[in-house]
Amino acid sequence: MASKADKPELIIGNKRLDGRGFNDLRPLKVEASVLKNADGSAYVEWGNNKILAAVFGPKEAMPKHVQDPVKAIIKCKYSMAPFSSMGEHGRSGPNRRAIEISKVTREAFENVVMLNDYPGSEIDIFIEVLQSDGGTRAAGITAAAVALASAGIHMKDLIYAVSVGKIGEELVIDMNMIEDNYSDSDMPMAISPRNGDVLLLQMDGIMSKSEVKKGMAMVLEAGKAISKIQKDALNKVYSRGENGNGV
């Protein structure tokens, strides 16, 4: 995270290494309902990230002692495929990093899924990173939200997540792997777009109070585009039903 002596120049002219401006997202593609055996699923390509999310349930919570008689429980598993990354970073297996990301993802969704509608049940979320290039926890949450919606699970909102970081004196949105490794600060956020609630906020490195405020504004601005892509993905699957027929 911290600046290294051999730190590459990340900003040249007012452009980033991959030619983006400070407020530009990487190209994002979302596809809903891609897996037949899952109750709900989504596939996300975000820059070089390729992420698959699947949702099962609500089903009877097992083992029985984990059941909550008044609400559903969420189980979340984030995992990186052994072939997903360039270096040894975060690869394979239930390591400390994967457990942490599973936990923060679960807690983000516990705030939007209407758990009281499914007492005593369990909802499983699986996030599998097939190819990683920085910002996979944000992309995983974005994918899992679409997967939950396509499973027909009651939710307050369709959430998204994106990271904002600091390179030198500049704030940049949606950092990729190289920017992430050599940046001064990295702050992933998950947002409920309906009312702007913050569901996930983590930070590596240092940012001043005004920078955090400015970063949040950038996230909310970029989120409009992300939300639209998520909704379009769901609409596309069911758009045949628009012509006044259906059930």
């Binding site: 709900g40 209407m114 027909g152 307050k156 909102d157 309906r194 039903g241 628009e242 059930v247």
Partner: protein
């Protein structure tokens, strides 16, 4: 009819309205499920999701356990479903037996109490997405009656997503139900299914 797709968090109404599959926050109504909003009737029909049990629903299930006169029934649902045997009813159900029953009561959204049980002997069970069941039944049972008449099968459709079939051309009936499930949101489905069934029965 004006229908539009709603996604969780979409604004349904500026006022606080009591609509199924929606919730109220700050005096406004929002959708909580991926569904079709009928703006004229003010209803939301979910496109995906599990069965939400209601009193009076017909269900098909398998008896999985018994304790004195209380039977546990598997309805492919996250909660518990029980059938309380009547003291005037001498009939006992065996574990593994398929029954048809009616939902008498739903407690705490998870415990389903069944009534008016009926044994179903033999036959096949088909699992269908619960959100597509109303389409399989059709308006005033037309769809299921049509399939049953043309394939000469006994068909009982449970709202929980399990369909029991026996006799006749089960293969054709299964194909018809699968077609309804995958094309539930297309127009003129009754005619399409009729054509499919006519073709299927003449070929056989």
């Amino acid at each position: 009819m004006a229908r539009q797709i709603v996604i969780p968090g979409d604004l349904v109404a500026e006022q606080a309205l009591k609509i199924e599959h929606s919730y109220i926050d700050n005096g406004k109504t929002y959708a909580k499920v991926l569904g079709l909003l009928d703006t004229e009737k003010g209803t939301i029909v979910p496109l995906e999701g599990i069965w939400s049990p209601r009193i009076g629903d017909t269900v098909v299930g398998i008896v999985t356990g018994m304790r004195s006169t209380v039977y546990e029934v598997d309805l492919d649902f996250f909660g518990r479903s029980i059938l309380i045997g009547s003291k005037y009813d001498r009939h006992t159900y065996k574990i593994g037996e398929v029954i048809e029953a009616e939902v008498k009561d739903v407690e705490d959204r998870k415990t389903i109490i069944l009534t008016r049980p009926q044994s179903l002997f033999g036959g096949t069970i088909l699992s269908v997405k619960p959100t597509k069941i109303p389409r399989v039944i059709g308006k005033a049972n037309t769809m299921v009656q049509q399939i049953a008449a043309m394939t000469k099968s006994n068909i009982i459709v449970g709202n929980n997503g399990l369909v029991w079939m026996k006799g006749g051309d089960i293969g054709l009936a299964t194909a018809a139900i699968r077609k309804i499930e995958s094309e539930a949101h297309t127009q003129g489905l009754t005619e399409q299914i009729k054509m499919m069934l006519e073709k299927g029965t003449t070929n056989a």
